[in-house]
């Protein structure tokens, strides 16, 4: 696997993988590192990191262990990122593939819808979706997926538009193969690499969107999310700024990891300098 070797040769990819793996280990091992409910009352609220050896990262304004929330929050952020990205990528590919492959009126209609989604600031749509359907973790994740697909659709469409007239696709037409075969077997595998790379951008944005929602107190309060913690810390920002700062660093590192992995994938899968969009 030439691609795998190229991937491992890139220092960015290796660093990103290490960071991401660390976050995954934190998420997966959260119950082992910090058994019990991370949202439970652990001690006196607002203890500074280091002040009490029991709480290496201190406690928040609800008296919950910040370190426990960081570990359990890793799971939530990754899960939201992964599921929302999958939703966005599936919708985006389906719409982009059909629009790009068939062109004409189908394309016009689908692209009008995509344009509508892109013209509307995605965060405002997200706010509306969450206001309408409530802020459980499931609805938030689905809502993020729903507002994130348009760029994927555009990218897929662009790939399909250029690939569908390639000679090897035309050759398959001439061989009498069906559209389904052309889309799934011929075009899609070739259109996929840039989409996979872009998925890392979608994932980064999804994690950021969830944390922004949580910051506005619109995300699910029953899960230990990093954004929730930042939002909570905002009330004590001027005195106990660490409550917001620590989860912020966690988000930063995770996004960094995702982006670096994306960059590594890009270098490995698209040897030519591929544009991000």
């Amino acid at each position: 696997m030439r691609a795998a070797r190229a991937y491992l040769r890139s220092p960015a990819a290796v660093i990103g993988t290490v960071i991401l793996l660390a976050v995954v280990v934190m998420g997966v091992g959260a119950d082992w590192f910090y058994p019990g409910d991370p949202l439970g009352l652990a001690g006196r609220p607002l203890q500074w990191p280091g002040q009490n050896p029991r709480f290496s990262l201190g406690t928040d304004s609800s008296g919950r262990d910040i370190a426990a929330q960081i570990f359990h929050g890793a799971r939530v952020s990754l899960l939201i990122g992964f599921v929302a990205t999958s939703i966005a990528v599936v919708i985006g590919i389906a719409i982009g593939a059909v629009a790009g492959f068939y062109g004409g009126a189908t394309d016009t209609v689908l692209m009008r819808v995509t344009e509508a989604f892109q013209t509307l600031p995605n965060f405002i749509l997200l706010l509306v979706l969450v206001a309408v359907f409530g802020s459980t973790i499931e609805t938030v994740t689905i809502a993020i997926g729903i507002v994130s697909w348009p760029p994927v659709a555009r990218l897929t469409r662009a790939e399909f538009l250029s690939l569908r007239t390639r000679d090897f696709v035309q050759a398959c037409r001439v061989q009498g193969l069906s559209d389904v075969h052309l889309i799934l077997r011929e075009v899609l595998p070739n259109a996929l690499p840039p989409v996979i790379v872009y998925a890392s951008v979608v994932m980064a944005v999804a994690i950021l969107l969830e944390s922004a929602l949580a910051f506005l107190e619109l995300s699910d309060p029953n899960v230990p999310s990093w954004g929730n913690l930042i939002g909570l810390g905002r009330n004590v920002l001027r005195t106990e700024w660490y409550v917001s700062a620590i989860p912020g660093v966690a988000i930063l590192l995770t996004i960094l990891g995702v982006s670096l992995v994306g960059q590594g994938l890009n270098d490995a899968l698209n040897p030519r300098l591929a544009r991000a969009r």
Binding site: D37, L39, G40, L41, R44, P45, L46, S61, S62, G63, A131, G134, S135, T136, E217, L218, S219, D220, P221, N222, R234, N235, V236, L237, R238, T239, E240
Partner: protein, 530 residues
């Protein structure tokens, strides 16, 4: 903590909180601009149309009510100089102040009072529509007399306690033509007060200037009041420190910032001047859930919550444990005898839950409940988290359902789609105005802050109805004591925390907090030390 000791402490607290006007006598200085934190922007600024602190903080300086409260919390005439009531409680006569003019120069007369009462208080003003439900007409025998006629007896005490909030007068000549709700004066109010409205820039500020023709001679002292719109609490605290705002009313800063600024010698963080604006944190039960319909479960949940711990660690000095629906600041109606209380007792909670047949199952869980917290107030969020954390200890798993304001009201009070809810009960001078609706059955579905629990108690309904029309103050007080006892026994909802709104002043402000609803009052005697 045992019942009686706590009650004694509360009684002490209640008397201590009445402002005693113990200020050093300084000579007021004329001039200066008072900048005020304006936390939530308002749709309208006219307090005859909307009864809320967000309106009073601005409109209360521009328009005036018939009566206000004095430093001792007793009614004192403003636009009304004196009043008398017929013994049957169906007629109340107000003698109006002479020589008062509106900001546009027109004289203030009894027709303004009649128009405002019939067209605004009775039809549009929230709470007013309930209070004035049986008002049939306002007679104006002369320009300086207004006679209120009621179909059913209206206790004078109730009316006078309610009017400081629900008795603001608007000029008839400005409002008489066209739709009142779309009148431009709603956001550019015209009043008789010490300050004249200048401008309202959305998202930025409201400005009002000194009224040179104010009827209190030589007043007001301030040249101008500027309300700065600052939605973000942390930003507001920063501006307090920078001296860009001098006063933040109604607990609009974060708990942490209020405590921090309270320790700063430049500022004072206090409940003084807010005694008329008290709120209690609620725990509301949905009786349609058979688990919660069981009194043992409701009591067990109450016993599982360590309220003093919560107050000490999360709310700080501005809150105290509540004892029932009528808060301790209500000098007239706070019951003097002990009422049933539910102290922190996990063993008792577990016992009651076991008795009710809810044994611990897998993972130690007895049952699951949804909790809908109201989205206003940091304390509600902390309180709901605390409930979640505490009930976990007794095997009750709580899922918090976070909704915005509209969603909360609709889900809880209209769709009844909740198990537990928590928010604020705001006490407004008299239980009949703000409190009994939480317990009285028969509120139409969808009316917020009313009994929507699926709970009905004929005895309590009877007490409430009797008290509302009882003209004799002593009998009224006894009826309300019965009400509190019944409410605390049946526990259809629980009000375990009592909080007075906190004001944060820059100490340059003088005569600050010198009456129980100071933030809402007219500030005619407020001045700034240089």
């Amino acid at each position: 903590m045992t019942g009686p000791t706590r009650r004694e402490m509360l009684l002490l607290g209640a008397t201590a909180m009445i402002p005693t006007a113990a200020f050093a006598q300084e000579t007021p200085q004329r001039g200066g601009v008072l900048t005020v934190h304006f936390a939530t922007e308002q749709r309208i600024l006219n307090p005859s149309l909307q009864a809320s602190t967000g309106v009073y903080i601005v409109g209360g300086k521009i328009q005036e009510a018939l009566v206000d409260l004095d430093a001792q919390g007793q009614p004192i005439g403003v636009l009304a100089e004196s009043w008398e009531s017929a013994p049957d409680g169906k007629t109340h006569t107000f003698h109006l102040r002479r020589g008062v003019t509106w900001h546009d120069g027109k004289p203030f007369t009894s027709t303004d009072v009649a128009f405002t009462a019939m067209e605004m208080w009775k039809k549009i003003l929230n709470y007013g529509t309930t209070l004035q439900q049986f008002l049939t007409e306002v007679q104006t025998p002369d320009p300086h007399t207004a006679v209120f006629k009621y179909e059913k007896p209206m206790p004078q005490g109730l009316l006078l306690r309610a009017l400081p909030d629900l008795g603001y007068v608007s000029p008839k000549h400005v409002y008489e033509s066209g739709d009142i709700r779309q009148n431009p004066a709603n956001t550019a109010p015209v009043g008789t007060g010490p300050f004249k409205f200048v401008t309202y820039e959305r998202g930025q500020h409201v400005i009002a200037d000194r009224n040179p023709n104010y009827w209190r001679n030589g007043m007001p002292y301030l040249d101008r009041v500027v309300w700065r719109v600052i939605g973000d609490r942390a930003a507001a605290a920063a501006q307090m420190e920078a001296g860009q705002i001098l006063f933040s009313p109604y607990s609009s800063l974060t708990i942490a910032d209020m405590q921090r600024l309270g320790r700063d010698p430049r500022f004072e963080a206090t409940t003084r001047g807010n005694e008329g604006n008290v709120r209690t944190n609620t725990l509301e039960f949905n009786f349609r859930n058979p688990i919660l319909a069981d009194i043992r479960v409701r009591k067990a949940l109450a016993h599982a919550l360590n309220v003093p711990f919560f107050i000490e660690n999360f709310l700080g000095p501005f809150a105290k444990p509540g004892t029932g629906p009528i808060p301790s600041v209500s000098t007239d109606y706070y019951p003097t005898e002990p009422m049933p209380q539910y102290g922190y007792d996990v063993a008792q909670a577990n016992r009651l839950l076991d008795e009710a047949g809810h044994r611990r199952g897998a993972g130690g869980v007895r049952f699951n409940l949804r909790l809908n917290p109201a989205p206003w107030g940091e304390d509600i969020a902390l309180w709901s988290t605390f409930i979640q954390q505490s009930l976990q200890q007794v095997g009750v798993r709580v899922e918090i359902v976070r909704l915005d304001a509209a969603g909360f009201l609709r889900t809880v009070y209209n769709d009844w789609n909740f198990d537990l809810a928590t928010g604020w009960h705001q006490y407004r001078s008299d239980p009949a105005v703000s409190t009994t609706v939480w317990y009285r059955s028969g509120s139409p579905r969808g009316a917020p802050w009313t009994n929507q629990w699926g709970w009905k108690d004929d005895r309590i309904d009877g007490i409430i109805d009797a008290a509302a029309t009882e003209v004799d103050p002593v009998k009224r007080k006894a009826l309300y004591a019965d009400f509190v006892r019944a409410a605390q026994t049946e526990l259809p909802l629980w009000m375990p925390i009592e909080q007075i709104f906190v004001s944060v002043f820059n100490k340059r402000i003088r005569n600050a907090g010198n009456n129980p609803r100071w933030a809402s009052s007219s500030w005619h005697d407020t001045w700034l030390a240089s």
